[in-house]
Symmetry: C2
Subunit: 356 residues, 2 copies
């Protein structure tokens, strides 16, 4: 069976231990437990189904007890599933519970409905040896990040998830967190994202330039997370933290509207959801940050927790505003983004604009 880049991401992450303790795609029991209770059948926290979707007509050809060969988009054999279960995906319940909406305009809900309505479960044997990230030099596996942390003597490491360029607001939060732990892993998601997100190659150029200029090399690492983006907000914040635990991190930054999209989630819903789960069993500590901005009163980056600034004294630009500025060839102010990052984004925007 031919698989999508999304499923290839899931396969890869299962194979390298990024989705530990999963050793394959979820069966119906695990799927229902995760959707309804946010736990695996063994009680461990888990927030997002990891399933192998197939169309109805395909599923008729698949038998429990038989191996199923999965072929990557390039036609090469990627993995073999030892099939233990084939079941109906309950997409309505999943949308309501995981995405908190049944709106098919939600990109995660839309992606789910584009996939087949049946799921194939079972442990996998991964045999694909091609790079799936596009960034093989910046793709450390969980065993490799863990070894790197040990080599550097880092006992506590905070992970930063992003699918965007890192502006001053994110830099501020990262550095606040870093001040109270040993190291920072900048861990951008480079799997499938929605088409209007900034492409991963442009982002990776931004990350490299930013880290080279503004971060100390002995306290910060950059590596990619080849996961697909679900845009599931609160549920995905937990999912993101579980993956970072598996990569060896002790702390995970949860900012405003983490993994959110549009207006589907409240600004701090992705922080509040951690109160509903057993964070000891989660094995990684969320670090929650409020909305950060450059403060004209105190002349430094801040959040409402650390600044008495009025709204007028806060330099904050929406993503839309920044895109408009870049399209017009205007550089956002240095209080918002480092000039080197603005230059890279500007170049990318103008190239896309001239390409239509």
């Amino acid at each position: 069976m031919q698989i999508s880049p999304w499923t290839l991401s899931d396969l890869y992450l299962i194979a390298v231990g990024g989705l530990s303790p999963l050793d394959g795609f979820m069966d119906e029991g695990a799927y229902r437990s995760v959707v309804s209770d946010m736990t695996l059948p063994n009680g461990l926290p888990w927030s997002i189904p990891v399933v192998l979707p197939v169309a109805d007509e395909e599923s008729a050809k698949i038998s429990v007890g038989q191996p199923l060969a999965l072929y990557a988009p390039d036609g090469k054999l990627a993995a073999v599933v030892d099939v233990t279960d084939v079941f109906d995906r309950d997409r309505e319940s999943e949308a309501d519970a995981v995405f908190r909406t049944s709106d098919r305009a939600h990109p995660g809900v839309a992606a789910m409905y584009r996939m087949g309505g049946r799921c194939v479960a079972g442990p996998i044997r991964y045999v694909y040896d091609e790079d799936i990230t596009g960034f093989p030099d910046d793709n450390l596996k969980p065993a490799e990040t863990r070894a790197a942390f040990t080599d550097r003597g880092w006992e506590t490491v905070v992970a930063f998830q992003t699918r965007n360029p890192i502006h001053r607001a994110h830099e501020y939060i990262q550095k606040c967190a870093l001040e109270v732990v040993d190291g920072l892993l900048v861990h951008p998601l480079v799997g499938e994202t929605k088409s209007d997100d900034i492409p991963a190659d442009v982002r990776m150029e931004c990350y490299h330039v930013l880290l080279d200029g503004y971060y100390p090399a002995d306290r910060v690492m950059l590596s990619v997370l080849p996961a697909a983006m679900r845009y599931a907000g609160p549920r995905e914040a937990i999912f993101h933290s579980i993956m970072r635990r598996n990569y060896g991190c002790s702390h995970f930054i949860v900012g405003r509207d983490h993994a959110g999209v549009g207006d589907y989630y409240g600004t701090y819903d992705a922080q509040k959801i951690f109160d509903e789960i057993d964070t000891d069993a989660l094995g990684i500590e969320p670090m929650k940050f409020e909305h950060s901005f450059y403060c004209l009163r105190t002349k430094q980056m801040a959040t409402p927790k650390t600044s008495p600034a009025s709204m007028e004294e806060r330099v904050f630009l929406s993503g839309t505003k920044v895109r408009e500025m870049l399209s017009r060839g205007e550089s956002p102010p240095e209080e918002f983004t480092r000039p080197e990052i603005a230059a890279i984004l500007m170049k990318s925007y103008q190239a896309r604009a001239s390409a239509g």
Copy 2:
């Protein structure tokens, strides 16, 4: 018996619960346990002896089983001790263990040798109702800070100990810490300090002005700690954290050379000592920060953990340099201290200079 302001501080702190679980001055068993093992006889971490020193000739008049009346420096009855023990203070061992030096030029060692060589132990009954701090409007007792934290809904509160004005470097550390907890208690020590430290009234004016201008009122509280300063570095960092636990704080900031003086302690000795004790039993979490500075490269406050700046790119002024500038009527740069704070310090220095 007439007591010193130092002993009055200790009495007050015992009475209000700032030194809980102590309910009086240590007996010989507790004293020796604290000096040699950094624990109370019940095993709880405790780093600094809290004793009632008396001269040899006075101690001859004191009997175990008898009440001993203690009179404040103003002549009023301060407390009564139900004497349970009278013993020799082992000043040499105490100096070596607690102060890590036998040098009598060390202000804490010097203070110890100025006191009597015998100690009187026993639970106290505190009856003094005068303010001992000089700042009655800013002196919340442990029960009052705890109630204030509860009122504000703060589950996690970080305490900042200081005996100095708060410059940008301290503000940075406080705000980094505050970003990851619910509230900040600025908790300046206003008991006895050495004569060349900046007087508490000048410092309090600085704190009020700084908090009013640069901190959000709903996340920060100011209250005084009427403890005497020991300058015992690492041991005193633990002692300071125990008191803040008693005031209801969950976290305690330990910066470079905490409670140090001269060159007696290594820059980060006061952080490392927390590795030697049971921090669960301590009941408060140390937050360790490196040396902070304004970074000309990243144009913001930073530490070596969060900035790749060379030494030349770090704006840092020594206390000596700042005192020299203020004496000459020069204001330290805004990257070092807020202009309003510089103005208060300048006024104080010039007044002291013209007073000779």
